[in-house]
């Protein structure tokens, strides 16, 4: 299924994501990683630690609502796969990011921006296996 190429929106969105990462480091001294934030909510280490993670999650969840308030439209979400694929994919993502210590935001943006060799390696590896998975699902299995 085709999607519309949106270079300017995507660049603008990327700039906002980067800005959030810089501001979180400047204020709380933390890496802006979705994996770390979620994992810290699931297995909290202290009340204060839980509180800032919950606050940032509530902010994230308000994001699409703010976009709707301004543009009048909810951001589009189209899921090409089945619910079963979402559950299996989600489980695999949860296991992978825990062992891999991060995902697209933590390794791909924050880690690479610090020139962390671990994050560069992690990003190259997951970009490669994502590409291979999409190729197999769409062109070998032929969904």
């Amino acid at each position: 299924m085709e999607t519309v190429f949106t270079p300017w929106q995507s660049l603008g969105g990327g700039v906002l994501i980067g800005t959030a990462a810089v501001l979180l480091m400047l204020t709380l001294g933390r890496i802006m990683g979705a994996t770390g934030i979620l994992a810290g909510l699931v297995t909290p280490v202290s009340r204060d630690d839980f509180a800032w993670r919950l606050a940032i999650l509530l902010g994230m969840v308000s994001g699409p609502l703010a976009v709707m308030a301004v543009t009048g439209r909810m951001p589009e979400i189209v899921v090409p796969g089945s619910p079963a694929l979402l559950i299996i994919g989600g489980l695999i993502v949860g296991v992978g990011v825990t062992f891999g210590s991060g995902c697209t935001s933590g390794h791909g943006i924050c880690g690479m921006a610090r020139f962390s060799k671990r994050s560069i390696a992690a990003t190259l590896v997951f970009m490669a296996t994502t590409t291979a998975t999409v190729f197999i699902v769409r062109h070998v299995v032929g969904a």
């Binding site: 990462a21 297995t43 994001g63 951001p75 979400i77 943006i109």
Partner: protein, 146 residues
């Protein structure tokens, strides 16, 4: 003050994810489909995020401490080991199957779409499963050391 800052930063991140297209699996998966309906948009997300974060960190990290915290909490691990590579490889497979990554899915909860809640619940289950496997995996090592 810490909580208000965290909320507003989350909001900036969430708006960024929404505007960029990262919360739409159809768009994310097309970025990886070079052999089919390729949509290069996500390279612009990565570029915008990386340029701002790289420049911003250069000004922030040399400071003695964050404004509202005691110190910068940076990962201390340096080793590129099997856990990092294997975990990242596995994450990519899940991302490729579902089209959601955690950074895209958490803000997407705000749309109220059931698909997103199903995915995030599965990710939480996966995190708990991995932590359990971790404990089982570390037990024999602890025994052999003793």
């Amino acid at each position: 003050m810490r909580l208000i800052s965290a909320y507003l930063i989350g909001l900036i991140f969430g708006v960024g994810i929404a505007v960029s297209g990262m919360m739409n699996p159809a768009k994310v998966l097309n970025f990886f489909d070079f052999a089919g309906s390729w949509d290069p948009s996500l390279i612009f997300v990565m570029a915008g995020g990386l340029v701002v974060a790289t420049l911003g960190y250069r000004f922030v990290l040399p400071r003695p401490a964050p404004l509202l915290g005691e110190r910068f909490m940076l990962p201390q691990t340096r080793a590129i080991d099997a856990r990092l590579i294997g975990g990242s490889a596995v994450f990519g497979i899940g991302w490729g199957l579902s089209g959601f990554c955690p950074g895209g899915a958490l803000p997407a909860l705000g749309t109220g779409k059931l698909d997103v809640y199903v995915f995030v619940a599965a990710v939480v289950a996966g995190i708990l499963l991995a932590k359990m496997l971790n404990r089982i995996g570390s037990r024999p090592a602890a025994l052999s050391k003793a």
